[in-house]
Symmetry: C2
Subunit: 238 residues, 2 copies
DNA sequence: CTATTATACCGACCGACGGTCTATTATTCA
DNA sequence: TGAATAATAGACCGTCGGTCGGTATAATAG
């Protein structure tokens, strides 16, 4: 095999890219290291030069994922003069829109990330994302409590519930997608929209807000993701 | 090796027992099939006579776990003349007491079941338990909605939240246990009690009940589990 | 009480896996 | 230019889950 030497950081990112693709499509366990290095066109020695183990590769992947997600919401956090509720809703909207704006991509992600195969990968990403997001949420909630917008005795707890609901929403969507009986798609969509409404009202009441204050997603949010697969687009090639 | 023939169901249960012990202590991935069969004193052929795969063993384990847990709450479901709130609280109390009554055992379970190693095992048990418990919760909530005790437009959603909170409680306890800085144990216990209170109030408000209606655990619940490890008892054998 | 079939069990063996190791080629810098 | 280091290759290793041909025991029929 011809020896190709690349810029180290480039090679590392390349490995992460191929690993991510394979882990998502086949699952962490089922995608072997040999698959990864074959896909990346790299020898084992090269791989182990960059990562200490397959486990470390997973960790790096989760970290990158969380880092990218965090970068997407930084501007909202730094936006001055927003009241806590607006900030919280903005954060929710941002993370929602990041998925909606490329709806079919979002669908693909849901379909793959929440498969049983991807339990390990999902858990790692979830962990990394939680570690990144929770402090931000806590900070916002604390500010809200201080200025009287929110009412709670356990900001960390509320932040956790927020994350739980976010994950649960995705989980429920993913389950409906994989179940995928096209016949009762409408029923599934309605059930999911209802679930989102429930989460919103629950959060309103937990935080002592009037019903309708928190907005996880406007009506149609679920439908947008769920119907994204109907138009697989003409571009099925790489 | 001498050939020992046992009653099939006994052998099967035995395999499940040894597998459970090993999966809990070492984790599903790290406990190899050879470990399991060695522990059970059985050949590979014997094992594959009872289970189609290691995966199937895990499935059977989760199923047994869920079945046992369900059996523990049947009497409350069948108790006549209880109003929905009492029934719901009874169910929560039952599942709590099942863990408290052997507090050190509960602690051991927490310590093992929620370790990262046990992600796979935990997920399977969780799945099986959810499948068993959710319908019961939904039924109770529906009854409550019909007779006006509860107010919600999404009983399934509320049931899901109940399960989420239950799991989250365990998860938080387990994290505090494994973190295990004895110094700030008191702080951790207080934080956890606060979390349980938050979940209770959240559920009250989601269901349109006065604060203090839902009781996940009486004050001291968390402390009882958390301090159980202080008395490892004299019996360390077996 | 046999003969025969079905069940429970054994353990050598297999391919694939994650990971290690030595060798070799490129890059860097004095 | 040449020595040191970084980057890459690929043969090799122990262990894993799983298979297979076979054997001992139990169940059943004649």
């Amino acid at each position: 095999m011809p020896r190709i030497i690349k810029h180290p950081e480039l090679r590392r990112e390349e490995l992460l890219d191929h690993a991510q693709a394979l882990f998502l499509t086949r699952g962490y366990d089922k995608a072997s290291l040999n698959d990864v290095i074959a896909s990346a066109g790299v020898s084992k020695g090269a791989f182990y030069h960059y990562f200490a183990s397959k486990e470390a590769l997973l960790e790096a992947l989760a970290e990158r994922f969380a880092r990218q997600a965090l970068a997407g919401v930084q501007n909202i956090l730094n936006a001055p003069g927003l009241d806590p509720l607006a900030r919280l809703n903005g954060l929710l909207a941002q993370s929602r829109q990041a998925k909606i704006e490329t709806a079919s991509e979002a669908w693909a992600l849901f379909e793959t990330l929440f498969r049983p195969d991807n339990l390990v990968l999902f858990h790692r990403i979830n962990l990394a994302a939680s570690a990144s997001f929770s402090p931000l949420l806590v900070k916002i909630i604390r500010e809200g409590v201080e200025d009287g917008t929110f009412k709670t005795f356990d900001p960390e707890g509320v932040a956790d519930i927020l994350m739980q609901f976010g994950m649960a929403t995705h989980d429920v969507i993913a389950k409906a997608i994989t179940a995928g009986g096209d016949a009762d798609m409408e029923v599934a969509i309605e059930a999911l929209e209802r679930r989102v409404r429930l989460y919103e009202i629950a959060l309103d009441r937990i935080l002592g807000l009037p019903d309708g204050s928190i907005r996880i997603g406007e009506p149609g949010y679920v439908r947008a993701v769920m119907t994204a697969r109907r138009k697989p687009k003409a571009d099925e090639a790489r």
